[in-house]
Symmetry: C2
Subunit: 143 residues, 2 copies
């Protein structure tokens, strides 16, 4: 039932509806955190719908270029993917335990307008990630 919705989303974008694509969308839509290709690969296996890792990468590519997902390059290591909820979203990362929280609000609207004026760029978007230590890690590491 869940996956029906994703099938429609895929069709609307003119993409073929395959079990794997719908499943990837479902996994990311349900996840609180952005996931790596490999984590998605494992979750697919857990859902009895195993796919090859390269297939996972190809699916993530298609869905990202169709704006159904967003690709995050936060760490320099592996890329993370999240369901694109179409609301403007940023991330707060814990430097200790590496957990990632999504942040709802964004203070950059006026700043971008200003910047466009100053630089004569057309501003298309931005990435903002904020780093710190979460309450738990601060407690455990207190000097």
């Amino acid at each position: 039932m869940k996956d029906r919705d994703f099938d429609n989303d895929l069709a609307q974008k003119g993409l073929r509806r395959t079990r794997h694509r719908a499943a990837v969308l479902s996994i990311l839509e349900q996840s609180q955190q952005p996931l790596s290709a490999e984590e998605i690969f494992m979750e697919l296996k857990a859902r009895e719908m195993p796919a090859n890792l390269s297939t996972v990468y190809r699916i993530l590519d298609v869905l990202t270029s169709n704006n159904m997902l967003q690709k995050l390059n936060i760490t320099g290591g592996k890329s993370l993917y999240e369901y694109n909820r179409m609301v403007h979203r940023h991330h707060l990362l814990c430097l200790g335990c590496k957990k990632i929280l999504a942040i709802g609000s964004c203070p950059l609207g006026d700043f971008e307008k200003d910047l466009a004026k100053k630089t004569d760029f057309s501003i298309e978007g931005h990435k903002l990630d904020i780093y710190g230590y979460c309450p738990e890690c601060r407690k455990n590491d207190s000097p």
Copy 2:
């Protein structure tokens, strides 16, 4: 004479002063753009001070962990490094020609305070990259 300064900087951090380290600092300090490990590798060769690529990576690592450089993971491909000028700096990337401009100002001070209050994180820093099309690329691609 330039490199003397960097030697001092290295010494102050308790790091050994080697020609290669000073040269990497000098290259990045003089560069308008963040550079990749490979670009630095080539620039070292151009300056008649060739180093092995893995040495370059090791140098970039040390200098980054000592806060003399900043590592940027903007693209998901190769990491870029820039001289840490200790002023708060962000980047404006052209999606067309991939040029990167540094932006001086940052609007996030109050936002971070707010966020710290709401989430109980201690905020240590952030990364902000802004994407758009530069004047030239807009001219060339106008539909």
